[in-house]
Symmetry: C2
Subunit: 343 residues, 2 copies
């Protein structure tokens, strides 16, 4: 079960994510832990979690002991941060079966509680993350300062310890070259914009994540309200830009969508970058009501299977770039074909 | 009925063409004819042709009086030379119903007898053209010099008056950048290479025409034998080059063919140049046994409908470039869809 399967996603907002950083009191931050102490932290958090979530299905993944391809595939699926692939002893992912709720243990902080939801749904994601954080806090001694709030390994996370982010699909703003201006505007309000895989400039698949920079001195709900407002404004800009393109050339969108579908359904080798770009076109087509090819759930399903590591992990072996391109094309064709039959 | 429909074309040789220049004795060449005299020539040739071909279906097209789009579409189908679109009084196309045999009247010469056949079949094309020329010569006084042979408007055609040409599909030689060298080699043997629409460099659709330069001092059969030899050599080079590409990357061809089919079957706007290039990929796929998409007859059928003028002529109106691109995509999708149903 994957988080994206549970809602019909048809909007510009791809997903919402809340991450809360929490640390155990009187234990050094992960950077300064011995391997034994790190193992202790992982065991303690895991035990607490399974107690408070008794009856629910959670997975424990020790990231240092699993296949490196699997670990990298989890990064590509955004379930694990890139930092977790470094040599961090007892770095562990605790993740609920629906992938919507997880705890990263022994990353930069002892715990990073993550809630992920499809679409624009920060409040609900926050409610879920905060609820889990509260229940963990009732079981475990947490490092809090009366003056600063939650203490974290990196000073930029002190206070709420919260990072809120929304992932938006912004192909028209990209085409209109309006993203650099958006980055500036966001920065003035204390928010940043990054690509789907952390890139700064044009993102693979035109997916961009907006998140808060400030964690200290502002209440969680204020941050979320601001980010919701900004999300609405950015979506409005994107829509306006799409309308301008549509007006300038009414055929272009349908043409782009048709070609993207034609290539994805027929290529025998395809790079990650090209596949992401073509899926962006399909996504835009669905968002604007062009009925060609697969639905959003199918596109999102493909998205999570075509990263370089994911392709290798699915195929159970290491592959050179060309073999990955062939395997990627196979996965895409297979999914589109199945979908086509069901339609 | 079109000439390409009658044979299963599956090779690198697309078509063979013989053109015989003939002029009426004691009448000035077309350049120096009055309008009345040109009308006389057209009437004389047409009358003679219909007498000797009594019972067969021939069309008479006065190129100055038909729709200019129709005239241009005939050029795109290679039934009429580009010169015929100039302001030539009583320029007339006499063409047999199967389009394999025709007479251009009042082009550069009074008569240019043309025989066209699919594949590599110069001898048969020559037999058909020469037979018609002989029978016309039996009816009409023809300008022949005992010393030089047939007299023509341009000295480069004097002698046999024959231009023999084969159209070959040479995508691999193009990709390997071996065409400039081929042009040089051919030139030394008295042959030239031009693109499908007369271009010098990379041709639309990778189709190239090889034809003789010399018409004087060599017998027709010698010219044809030489051109057949050259055709065989060029086909061998093309095949060798294809094998090298196939060896270097066994996936590339199938990938190119799949993508070409996917785009052609799904684009909503497409330029002539892009469509020709994609059809070249489909053609190569068929030639090399990759079973994706339409057969060669379907591809050739599309080829004859997508030139800028042909698209407008089929739609019965003048169109700007973007509208042509949309109409072209529609034609291609329609043909591919029909074909898909019949398969």
């Amino acid at each position: 079960m994957s988080w994206y399967k549970q809602d019909g996603l048809t909007g510009i907002a791809f997903s919402s994510r809340i991450r809360l950083a929490r640390n155990l009191r009187d234990i050094p931050f992960p950077e300064r832990l011995s391997e034994d102490q790190a193992g202790e932290v992982a065991a303690t958090v895991s035990r607490a979690l399974h107690e408070i979530e008794a009856g629910k299905k959670w997975h424990d993944l020790d990231l240092q002991s699993i296949d490196p391809l699997h670990r990298q595939a989890l990064v590509e699926r955004h379930l694990v941060s890139r930092e977790m692939t470094a040599d961090r002893p007892h770095a562990t992912l605790l993740v609920r079966d629906d992938e919507r709720l997880g705890v990263l243990v022994n990353e930069e902080d002892h715990m990073r509680i993550q809630a992920l939801r499809p679409g624009s749904d920060l409040s609900e994601a926050y409610a879920e993350a905060a609820d889990l954080a509260d229940r963990l806090e009732a079981k475990l001694p947490i490092a809090v300062s009366p003056r600063y709030g939650y203490l974290t390994s990196c000073p930029t996370n002190v206070g709420t310890g919260m990072r809120a982010s929304v992932m938006l699909h912004l192909p028209a703003l990209g085409r209109a070259d309006l993203l650099p201006k958006l980055v500036q505007t966001l920065s003035r309000s204390g928010f940043t914009l990054r690509g789907y895989n952390g890139e700064g400039s044009r993102s693979e698949g035109d997916l961009y994540q907006i998140s808060n920079q400030v964690t200290l001195g502002r209440a969680e709900n204020d941050i979320i309200r601001d980010l919701n407002d900004i999300t609405e404004q950015v979506i409005a800009s994107e829509n306006k830009s799409r309308e301008a393109f549509q007006e300038a050339d009414p055929v272009a969108l349908g043409d782009r969508v048709g070609r993207a579908y034609g290539i994805l359904a027929n290529a025998q080798a395809i790079s990650y970058e090209e596949a992401m770009q073509l899926m962006s076109a399909l996504r835009e087509g669905i968002e604007l009501g062009v009925r060609t090819g697969p639905d959003m759930e199918t596109i999102n399903g493909i998205l999570l299977q075509i990263g370089p590591a994911s392709v290798q992990w699915i195929n159970g072996r290491e592959m050179d770039a060309r073999s990955r391109d062939v395997a990627r094309a196979d996965v895409i064709k297979k999914v589109l074909k199945e979908k086509h039959i069901h339609d």
